[in-house]
């Protein structure tokens, strides 16, 4: 069954690496995902107001289009998109009048009936099973110690969590199945500072420093993540961290799909690590 794929803005620019590697991984594993022919902003940052229905139009429009094309599952790679779409989906399904209003507002779209399931790509991989992933491995990443960083949006709030919010294991299991060695680090579910990076970079640098130091303390060679925003904060902010904390050594940060692509023999980016 083909699954609709929603890339979201950042996947086409700064997080290109996530998309490219993920599509290659999906192809190798035979997961049929296809990009929606026309899509808009996912609607992030998800509005937490009860009375702000206009902010839900963007995600619901995407879901309406997905349903209209005959898909029942929509997958995303970006954690932020996943969270926004999944929360919006639950929000409109909870109260039918919300959906009615939005449907009435989106004149140009077919109505959305709440019948699309939003699944993060990680969930698709989990459903495929570790064995299938292992079978595709050409270069097992043995000895590579990976700190799996989840951030917030894959795990919270609880109603859209893809795994246990306090002790998740979905990324670890995938890393194990490609031969890498996941290292536990308690900061894996701590927030990186998120969108504050746009206006308060120093705060984000301090957050990112704590997270990366914790990964280093626990013996990580690299950090993997699935979120373009976390990735930016943990990776690009390292120069700010070094300015604030001259002793900071740095730690490579990758998307989990990049590491998978490496193990599948598609790319060679981990040289020297």
């Amino acid at each position: 069954m083909e699954i609709a794929y929603f890339p979201g803005c950042t996947l086409k620019t700064t997080a290109r690496a996530l998309e490219t590697s993920a599509l290659a991984v999906a192809k190798t594993l035979g997961i049929a995902i296809k990009e929606l022919p026309s899509w808009t902003c996912c609607g992030t940052c998800y509005s937490l107001a009860e009375d702000d229905l206009i902010k839900q139009v963007a995600p619901i429009r995407t879901l309406a289009r997905t349903a209209n094309l005959g898909y029942s599952i929509l997958t995303t790679l970006c954690s932020v998109c996943y969270n926004t779409l999944a929360q919006a989906n639950l929000f409109v399904k909870a109260v039918p009048t919300r959906l009615e209003k939005i449907n009435a507002f989106m004149e140009e779209e077919a109505n959305y009936a709440g019948n699309v399931e939003v699944k993060h790509f990680l969930t698709l991989l989990q459903e495929l099973g570790a064995e299938k992933v292992s079978e595709a491995v050409k270069r097992p990443l043995s000895g590579l110690k990976v700190a799996c960083y989840y951030g917030c949006l894959l795990l919270r709030p609880q109603n859209v969590a893809i795994d246990d919010p306090e002790q998740p294991s979905i990324l670890e299991n995938i890393m194990k199945s490609i031969g890498a060695e996941p290292v536990f680090f308690p900061y894996q579910v701590e927030c990186c500072g998120s969108y504050h990076t746009a206006v308060k970079p120093e705060i984000v640098a301090r957050r990112a420093h704590l997270i990366l130091e914790n990964a280093i303390e626990n013996g990580a060679d690299i950090v993997v993540t699935s979120c373009p925003l976390c990735s930016f904060n943990l990776k690009e902010r390292q120069k700010d961290i070094k300015r604030l904390y001259p002793g900071f050594k740095g730690l490579p940060v990758f998307y989990f799909t990049e590491v998978m692509a490496e193990a599948f023999g598609i790319t060679k980016i981990l040289k020297g690590i």
């Binding site: 950042t10 992030t44 509005s47 937490l48 917030c152 579910v189 927030c191 500072g193 969108y195 705060i203």
Partner: protein, 130 residues
């Protein structure tokens, strides 16, 4: 410091309406503050934000930095023993301010300094502007 208590629940009611949360369900255990990743940067602890809402200390509340530092990471919500979503309450307070003062907290100009991922720009604009 002395707060003169009188019924002043307009803000409280508005925030509850926007967030859909019951402020008085909070029994002030402080678990939200204990785990908040931004608490080190805040002037009021997250539990104090709820406390000021309960007390109707609107001036003190609307002046604080805390609500603008909340990153909507949902850590407090995930761990709240009473199932109160402080994350939503924070949004409620922010929205009351944004809607009434019409004062944006950030400007796109500020954010031009470096090449940021769109998701950061859009999120920040959506959270901090009217």
């Amino acid at each position: 410091m002395r707060l003169v208590l009188k019924r002043q629940d307009d803000l409280l009611k508005k925030v509850e309406e926007i967030s859909g949360e019951n402020v008085f369900a909070c029994y002030q255990c402080g678990k939200c503050s204990a785990g908040c990743p931004m608490s080190t940067e805040m002037d009021l602890l997250p539990n104090q934000v709820i406390r000021l809402l309960q007390l109707g200390a609107n001036e003190q509340l609307l002046d604080c930095r805390t609500i603008w530092l909340c990153a909507s990471c949902f850590t407090c919500t995930a761990r709240c023993p009473k199932g109160v979503s402080l994350t939503r309450l924070m949004e409620g307070v922010r929205l009351v301010l944004l809607r009434t003062t019409k004062e944006d907290q950030v400007s796109p100009k500020e954010m031009e300094k470096e090449f940021l991922p769109q998701v950061a720009l859009i999120s920040a604009l959506r959270k901090f502007t009217t």
